[in-house]
Symmetry: C2
Subunit: 185 residues, 2 copies
């Protein structure tokens, strides 16, 4: 895993990293305990405020921690972390300290109690804006209040889940900036 | 653009194509008029029923058509269609017949009134399960009731939007099937 130098990043622009649909690691803290879960069911909802919609199953140990603390950090792992990502999804925070088990470094966030995962390319500090529960889990809307993004490389190689143990890795970039109307960018 | 041979695909398994986070084309029909819009703000919410959450701005001509007809088709374009995808996002159905303007073939769907786009790799027929409006647009939950997927190639090369006119193209596959617990796949 890598050590990144990260800088503040405008929260209105985090689509650059999240809109392509990567698997993320969600960290949370409640009553002195921290946990991490994998998440692929998320989408942007607004730029300003910077809103993210996420569906989290209540089968996750983190579910109640996120719901009660009303905060989390959305961390962006890179393709070289695929085995950590799988391992985190394969066990429960109920009986495993995932930070210790998988060599992840918890760093203090600035605006939330949940920790940043140092080894991830980017960390998005989030506060819960709205939650709509249902019997099998909940639809959470988070506001990203602070973003930390690595300065190099310019773009991360991210993991995108297909189910059945298969991940798509982000590929090449195509630019059509010159063809797009400014308001469509 | 390509001509695909498509077959029925299990609606519970459409995560394979949508969970990685591609840009999709949403087609709709209302009072004899059809329209298409680009959409990147979507996520899975459940396998059975097959639920998709989508955020659609009311700035889209399609917004009211989808809301009133309570149906749509989510079509999966491939990387070779990037210029059509940009062009569709750059204009409005209010004054443009996008099917005619961009050489798209509308095919009848089986369970909804909205058309399938023949040139896309996959077509997911959807019925509106729930909508929550807000001043700037709406959060829609669709149930996919019928899926048509190309039999070849095995995986499509999809477009993933980063904003600012830049698209990430889906890259290589990493499999960790052997490491995953069956219930985690």
């Amino acid at each position: 895993m890598k050590n990144y130098h990260k800088e503040d990043y405008p929260v209105a622009d985090i689509r650059r990293f999240l809109e392509p649909g990567p698997v993320v690691l969600v960290s949370s803290t409640w009553k002195g305990e921290s946990d991490v879960m994998t998440m692929a069911w998320h989408m942007l909802m607004e730029f300003t405020p910077s809103l993210l919609g996420c569906f989290i199953s209540d089968a996750n140990h983190s579910y109640e921690m996120i719901k009660r603390s009303m905060e989390c950090v959305i961390n962006l792992p890179t393709a070289d972390m695929v085995d950590q990502v799988v391992a985190i999804g394969n066990c429960s925070g109920e009986d495993t300290d995932k930070f210790a088990a998988f060599g992840l470094t918890a760093q203090p966030a600035e605006q939330v109690g949940a920790p940043l995962i140092a080894e991830c390319y980017a960390n998005f500090e989030c506060k819960l804006a709205q939650v709509a529960g249902n019997p099998k889990g909940g639809f959470f809307i988070f506001e990203c209040v602070k973003a930390h993004v690595a300065t190099s490389p310019k773009l991360p190689e991210t993991l995108h889940y297909r189910g059945n143990g298969e991940f798509m890795v982000s590929g090449r970039t195509i630019s059509r900036k010159s063809l797009m109307k400014p308001e469509m960018r």
